[in-house]
């Protein structure tokens, strides 16, 4: 990897950088769409490429189960398998093991789980995870980490999962997981260096430590000591339902300490406000299923907030989602009324909204990059928040987080409401 910082924001910790990988250059900060099973659902790789995207995620857990390593090797790797010519990042498979599998037991050796297809007990070790990622052939690969959650029973909905997980991010298990993650990092580094693939695949470490600043600090120190054998750092163990006001402080702590000549990746971040805050705190990349998943569920993302196309207030609206958006859907002036008619009922409409949401994420980050280069990033933040949240009110945690890097969101808007909690904006019925 060639990594070069091109510009720094004079106020915040944001920076624009250029990352050159085996499958091309990606400018940072960027948002990475998730192609869970080797595809962005509903779109061909040509369509994704046409939206200007050049770095996407694949999930090791899913690809390992299906189609499996043998098929991937025969296909010549995941790029060829899915027809994607640009950059790929794979996660280690660790998170899905814990979130998707009923009985996952973490031991020092690895993660022991039941195959969802045949129930066979299967062990995912750090070495095995790296080996699978080698077969996949992604440009960036992730260490296998111990995410620090206790074995979850199968939880029927996201809410219960979040509640269960938030209560498990403090305590001795978290410390144990953090130290194990460091030992697994060493094993991953060994396995990767032995393969002689270090020039084409770049290994990232994942900082753990739950919500405990001390544990985080220890983890940071250890991982930074291994800097010369690591291409980049991810900040893991977050986006699991913890309070946003705690989340940003951990991001900040990690970003402040991590070396500036390595990319920083916050895993599982996708909301627009979250992304911009992370960028302001010094993060370079993020991934999330949110924009593509919410598209399939009928919600289009805009700079004025999300638009829930299922609501009847859109049924006769002949305007496109966003008059200024260059995505194929808006550029052809596909009306909200038309999308409303078919949303959640026709796959083609899911595709149309997916294309729009991916372009929204790309515009969000592209405009951020431009603003950082021009030295106007604080203005961009202020105008984004004003337009996006309007009179709804700003999430308090965003105000706090940006204040910590020298941006006062309330400047010029003294009577804007401040909302406690996550303060996320939703489109409601008229």
């Amino acid at each position: 990897m060639q990594f070069e910082v091109l510009a720094k924001c004079p106020t915040t910790q944001a920076r624009v950088s250029r990352m050159k990988l085996a499958h091309g250059v990606t400018l940072l900060p960027t948002f990475m769409p998730v192609a869970t099973q080797a595809a962005i659902k509903g779109l061909t790789p040509q369509q994704v490429e046409a939206l200007g995207i050049n770095l996407i995620l694949n999930n090791t857990y899913h690809l390992n189960l299906r189609p499996g390593i043998q098929v991937l090797k025969e296909a010549g790797g995941a790029h060829k398998f899915q027809g994607w010519k640009h950059n790929l990042l794979t996660d280690s498979g660790g998170f899905q093991l814990v979130s998707l599998n009923k009985f996952t037991k973490i031991t020092e050796e690895g993660a022991l789980f039941e195959s969802p297809f045949d129930g066979k007990p299967t062990m995912l070790t750090p070495e095995e995870s790296i080996s699978i990622q080698h077969a996949i052939g992604a440009d960036i690969i992730m260490q296998l980490d111990d995410v620090g959650r206790a074995i979850p029973a199968f939880l029927p909905d996201l809410d219960s999962l979040w509640k269960a997980v938030s209560s498990l991010t403090v305590g001795p298990r978290v410390g144990e997981a953090m130290w194990r993650t460091i030992r697994w990092l060493d094993r991953c580094i060994e396995a990767h260096e032995k393969s002689c693939r270090t020039d084409i695949q770049n290994l990232f470490a994942i900082v753990q430590g739950g919500l405990d600043p001390q544990l985080r600090d220890q983890c940071l120190d250890e991982m930074i000591r291994r800097k010369d054998r690591i291409a980049g750092y991810a900040i893991g163990g977050l986006s699991g339902g913890e309070a946003k006001d705690v989340f940003w402080r951990i991001i900040k702590q990690c970003a402040d300490k991590l070396p500036s000549d390595r990319p920083r990746y916050s895993m599982g971040i996708g909301f627009a406000e979250d992304l911009l805050v992370c960028v302001a705190l010094g993060v370079d990349m993020a991934d999330c299923v949110f924009p593509t998943r919410t598209a399939r569920f009928g919600v289009a993302l805009t700079f004025s907030g999300p638009v829930n196309l299922r609501l009847s207030k859109h049924q006769a609206d002949m305007a496109p989602i966003d008059e200024t958006c260059p995505c194929p859907t808006c550029a052809s002036r596909t009306s909200r009324a038309f999308l409303h008619h078919n949303v959640t009922l026709e796959t083609a409409t899911a595709h149309a909204i997916t294309q729009h949401n991916l372009v929204f994420q790309a515009r969000l980050m592209g405009q951020a990059r431009d603003a950082i280069i021009n030295g106007t990033f604080p203005d961009y933040l202020r105008s984004f928040f004003a337009t996006y949240f309007g009179n709804n009110g700003y999430p308090e945690w965003c105000v706090n987080a940006l204040r910590s890097v020298g941006v006062d969101l309330l400047e010029g808007r003294p009577d804007v409401k401040i909302l406690p909690g996550d303060g996320a904006k939703w489109d409601r019925a008229a």
Partner: protein
Amino acid sequence: MVVHWYEASMLFNPLRRLSRASMSVLSFALDESFTSGQFGPRLGKLDLHRADGSSPPSIRTPALITATSRGIVPHLSQDHVALTKSIGWTQIHFESFLEQSPPVPTLQGGPHPLHTFLHHRPDQQIIALSVRDPHDGREITANGKDFVSVRCVRGVRKMTPTAWRSYVLSCNPDVVTALSDIPFTNSPQSQKRTIKTLERSTAWLADLLRPIDLDSTTSTHPLNVLVHMVGGTEDRARKAFSETLLEKLQGKEMEVASPLTTLDEGLRGYVFDLVPLRASILQEAKGNGTPEDTTARIQALMDVSLRPLPTSKLRVVHSAASPHEILRLIRDVGVDLFDARWAQHAATLGVALDFSFPVRDPALLQHSTCNGPIVDPDGEARAGAQLVLFDLRT
């Protein structure tokens, strides 16, 4: 900009939409050197001439119709639809739009509201509008004297001839199928029911064929109208319906439909929906206890309907069950348009079609008793699916 429904109903004046400039004329010409009488394989050329110049390419027949769901080609995103030249004649059914009142495409505006609303390209696609999905054979509330029962996601709605005519005029499809009374309840129908079918279908066709006053003093009839050949499995009913189309209009009917002297004069072609027809045939066969070659029965019924009528008009079949049925109907009846729903549905199920026609594998050909293919002398690749004519008569 949101248009509330009550404002919309004030905008909803069909005569404001339709102008001479946005009208289109469908013409169909048989290639005389490749026709074999009234019933037999035939080649033809379909053209839609739009007054505003956005005419799509000619369609060489036999050709395929693209089936749609809720107005769009299933699964294909717009940019992909725009990339292909294979989507020409596009069959749209209006019923899903009855989920809102007024139906949203009627609020679109512009010269081609239906094309615009659904993002179909007037310079590439002919939109043929019917009220019901030809492939939906589910049982539904019976039709009435003045309405067809139609299905949308919110349940069954009633479509009256008056409403149909005004929706058609607001949306400006290129081709429109008249309302027909096709029962979706158990076959065979009683004679009384069959008579009702014929009377209603005739009356509803006449209503659609009433002239439209445009911006000039002479009333003309610019719609391109198709009609379902009704009559179920009853030969006599089918024959009677066809003969009614050819009867000289008299009295009040003549005044209403003027300048047409027969209903057939106002028609561009004839449609056969095979889903209800096949269901009726199978029910009859069950009653008799005899197995059916349903394709042969379909062909015989189509013959009865088409025999009295001009050979030169367009013949459309929806929901052919297989490529074999398509080939037989081309050979034995002379059908010009078939829908590709079978193939589109295969794709939905994850089945890729990898057969080819004509068969070129020598191992298979050596067992064939057929003649070789007739070569199209100008050798042009045909738009849409590659259908090659085989002379299977001997």
